[in-house]
Amino acid sequence: MSKLIASSAIRGAHSLYNKAEAAYNAALAAKGADQPVSFPDTAYYLPVAYALLAIKVKTLGDIQPVLAKAKSMLPDIPAEDAWLPYLGNTLDSGIAALLSEEIIEAMKYVMGPNPVEGIWLGATDDVIVRTQGIKLVDGSMPGFAAVVGAAPTTEEAVKLATELRERNILLFMAGETDGKTMADQLNEAGVEMGWDVYLVPFGRDISAAVYALGVAARAAMTFGGITPGGMKEAREILMYNKNRVFAFVIALGDVDDEKYATAAGAINFGFPVIANTDIPQILPTGITTYEHVVSNVPLDKIVDTAVEVRGIKIKITKIPIPVSFGSAFEGERIRKEAMFVEFGGQKSPAFEYLRMRDMDDIDNGKIEVIGPEIDQMEEGKAYPLGILIEVAGRKMQSDFEPVLERQLHHLVNGAEGIWHMGQRDMNWMRISKSAHEKGFKIEHFGEILKAKLMDDFPAIVDKIQIKLYTDADKMKEVLEEARAAFIARDERVAGLIDESVDTFYSCTLCQSFAPNHVCVISPERLGLCGAYNWLDAKAAHEINPTGANQPIIKGETIDERRGQWVGVNELVRAKSNNSVQQVNAYSIMEDPETSCGCFECVVAILPIANGVMVVNREHTGETPVGMKFSSLAGSVGGGAQTPGFLGVGRQYITSGKFIAAEGGFKRIVWMPKELKEALAGQLKKRSEALGLPDFVDMIADETIGTTEEEVMEYMAKVGHPALEMDSLLG
């Protein structure tokens, strides 16, 4: 905590208080205590005093207690040689300063000169607070900035205003630097101002800055539903602003004592201060969400810094690409004849890789094409393309990298005339002739990814930069890094076992048609539709905390072999509307998990053969259990527990926890050939891990038989291990 700031703020507060007291006394002498006092068209009296002190100022007389409170909060001016006035003192002086400023402005309405004059708008009425507040709440206006002072030059003032407007950030202006205000500068440059254009000049004096806090206080009372009452409510109002009103103060030019005091007031609302001059910084986070005061920021970086410091999310409404974008284009194909150029697909080296970086390592929004652009490419040819996406975010985790990376397919496909398939370093993309004619360039891949990743994942992506490599040599190094990362990721997933985590995730997306169904997603058991593994569910929860994926704290273990935990039971009970009392995550016979209807495969027991069969959705033929997939689905689905039957995702088949309670993988006696082939690699690996290298060949398929008897004959022939296992029926 800087002593300099503290001392200045305290001195400024004293000075503002004295002015307020003088103005008040003059008004009182002239008009008497019964003289009505109000800002125009507001039901919130003097809003800052009302919000923080719960005092309803209606007459001059009512101001007395406000003044008294301001005075009581004024710390002594620290002696030159005294060390450390603490943060609390500074903050108190900030509140005293705001209360004083509000009185100063209110006295202008009583005694004149009217604050509404020329370009100046004075106090804000309630309707404007409400209409602007809606934009703040829905995020279409990401926040507001209060500028105090003037920019070094008119051009810089205009530039700053434009930058803020481009981001839909409302700009409040008050206070001067060397006799000039930013509003004057804009006015000179002929810039139109007003609420409609997001440029709001409050007043020439620094005290007019209090109107911005009046807006903030009323936003909290209106949208936070907080009625002032005392300290508790005052705190709630400040907290509401800290958490929900993304505002900040830009201090331009010299920062004098009164400005310091005002800034200290704003810090109470959680609004950080960004200055273009060299004033002491207050960096540790605490009152504001991030830093309190950041100084010496060049004017052209001020908006970016402010946006970053305050954690403001800017909505990108239109992606700046020359072709249409939308889900309607997701399914289009680009035939060879319609193609302009292509990338990857074994024809040229290509990859897509998303990784996490530190906040500071990212030049937010930067898109770089490393190598030739499309205008140097020839029709009909294949070129290298490496897409490196780097993101940072306060809530980003490396586990979310693959989750975000997988979005690329659907995002890139959304652009008209662009086609994508595959993933990682096995991807394949085409740009159509018509997209090329419309002006689609390599850099536009970056624009799409930047806009959509920021927009769709605001909870985890704060910053993003994208490099697009079209030069095979230059991409080599990154490709190597990417490959190493892919291997590391796979290892991480393979290494994740249920015992290594204490949190599983639920998924209730399917309850729309299976009202009591809950998927319990653990590292070794993915959702039965196959679309959500544990990492996906974890990321989905982070992205949408109220959504269909909720964390389940496993809690005490009830049955390790069958996979039953106190926490899981509790959650399943609650989410299944009490219809499922307990589940065994690893059992098909006793309290198995429910099945909804969109499972990739059904596992069914073959009781006489003493094994299980697995049939995938695509297989339409007969199966040894005597039911085709469709009738199996009918009797298993709907969100009920059906002992002997289980809907599963494909990847679960080779999981170490696959029906572990009944002996696991070795129970499998039949599966369709197509499924066997699709999972060949994994099946083999799993067999080997179990010390049964030939096991895959012991699993019968439809070419061997579709009756339980034929399966049993085959089992006997090959010596299937299930023959030796405990009876399934117990």
Binding site: A328, E332, R333, A514, P607, E709
Partner: protein, 449 residues
């Protein structure tokens, strides 16, 4: 019915002989568990197993059949309090009550309604189900004459309504062996009525006084007399009291396994108001809340149709949606240049899409594909609304003979398959339509072939 397929399987012979019509004992067990097969289907079941299973698998609410032959109706057999828990199984039936005090024209009118009140909707035949025949005069001859008249005029099973066992006996004789519902046994006449029910193999309604404990006692005696097929009348005649009794009866049967209340229920909205519109509204209450036989004063089409549709809605299996017949549906006289749209045969999808196409006033061809009654997205996810299935459908359904152009509009939600479909559906261009049905009219208005 708490028995799982595995529980049932354990009692079966485990030979997979296939004589039950399905290939394995387990598949058969699953069918029984789902209520889709009867134990008797397995000829090799041991007697012990059969009795153990039938005891355990007996439904908490008995299914009762009224009438004989093709027009017999089955009511009751319900397993849940709320339809989303599984489904309401056996749709309730309605009956217009004809009494022996009516003039011939009124009787003829009601008989005509009974026979003609039929509608086909979503491939289902909607009709009342029963006809009520009531003795008002106490004159046995009149009652018998009326029964004979009704019997001659309609094949719908009857509810014979008369409190006097002697008169009822005459009525039953007149009705022949048609297993009408006998209405009703009371504390005063139950012995005689029970004897009639047994003698004529007819189901018996038991009329209470509003007191459910008394009703339980009465039913117990009637069951002891050997009557199995019972229908309950709680005895109340105002909707507020009736609703209470109906809820209690259903709960007692399902949750408390009170055997005496495990039967379908007959209700009388026609006796709860004189206003026919209110009568229909109360009938609606009982369609949703546990009425199985609903007595009405008539079957005027404008009132019957909405009630039948309500029953159709409430008794739809939530997990097995209603389907419309696949095929081409021309809307508003389309020509060879009119747009061609494709959608699923989930009835709700069909209704909404066809309604919006109609509202657009743009004549169009709506091709409805067999998606087993699943909605567009669900059937796509289940692999039933995918290019491999769409191609043979479009090629085979005959739309190519109807239109000159070759543009197919697919639901907006299926945009992802547009390219694949276009590749496989030779000669056709695939256009992505709107995602929401409500946006169909503006889409069609700007559509050009």
């Amino acid at each position: 019915m708490a028995l799982t397929g595995i529980d049932i399987f354990k009692q079966l012979p485990k030979t997979n002989c296939g004589d039950c019509g399905v290939p394995t004992c387990l598949a058969f067990a699953m069918k029984i568990a789902a209520g889709q097969a009867e134990l008797a289907g397995c000829p090799h079941l041991s007697e012990d197993a059969a009795s153990a299973l039938s005891e355990a698998s007996a439904p908490p609410i008995r299914a009762v059949t009224i009438g004989v032959g093709d027009d017999a109706v089955k009511v009751g057999g319900e397993l849940v309090l709320y339809r989303h828990e599984k489904t309401f199984f056996n749709p309730c039936v309605f009956a217009a009550v004809i009494d022996d005090g009516m003039d011939a024209a009124t009787v003829d009118g009601l008989l005509k309604q009974t026979n003609e009140s039929r509608f086909v909707r979503v491939e289902q035949d909607l009709k009342a189900g029963l006809v009520g025949v009531k003795s008002l005069s106490g004159d046995t001859a009149k009652f018998v004459a009326l029964i004979e008249k009704v019997k001659a005029a309609t094949t719908q099973p009857m509810v014979l309504m008369c409190g006097d066992p002697a008169e009822m006996e005459a009525g039953l004789k007149a009705a022949g062996e048609t297993a009408p519902l006998i209405y009703a046994a009371t504390a005063a006449n139950y012995e005689a009525m029970a004897a009639l029910a047994l003698a004529h193999k007819a189901p018996l309604a038991v009329c209470g006084t509003g007191d459910l404990d008394a009703l339980v006692d009465l039913v117990k005696k009637i069951m002891a007399a050997g009557v199995k097929d019972i229908v309950l009348d709680p005895g109340t005649r105002n909707p507020k009291d009736t609703l209470e009794r109906l809820v209690y009866i259903r709960r007692a049967a399902l949750n408390k396994k009170v055997k005496e209340l495990g039967f379908p229920i007959i209700v009388f909205p026609n006796e709860e108001t004189d206003d026919k519109m209110m009568e229909a509204v109360y009938a609606g209450l009982y369609v949703g809340k546990y009425g199985s036989v609903i007595m009405l004063s008539d079957l005027d089409a404008a009132r019957a149709l909405p009630l039948y549709v309500l029953r159709q809605n409430i008794y739809t299996d939530p997990q097995r949606p209603m389907q419309v017949k696949p095929g081409i549906y021309p809307i508003g006289n389309p020509t060879a240049d009119s747009p061609v749209l494709i959608t699923s045969n989930f009835s709700l999808t069909y209704f909404i899409v066809s309604g919006e196409v109609e509202a657009s006033r743009v004549p169009a061809w709506l091709c409805v594909m067999d998606t087993e009654g699943l909605s567009v997205m669900t059937s796509w996810a289940a692999g039933k609304f995918v290019p491999e299935k769409i191609v043979p459908f479009i090629k085979g359904v005959g739309i190519e003979e109807q239109v000159k152009h070759r543009k197919l509009v697919i639901p907006g939600y299926l945009a992802t398959m547009s390219g694949e479909l276009e590749d496989e559906l030779e000669g056709w261009n695939v256009e992505v339509g709107p995602r929401e049905a409500a946006d169909i009219p503006p889409f069609l208005k700007t559509w050009a072939s």
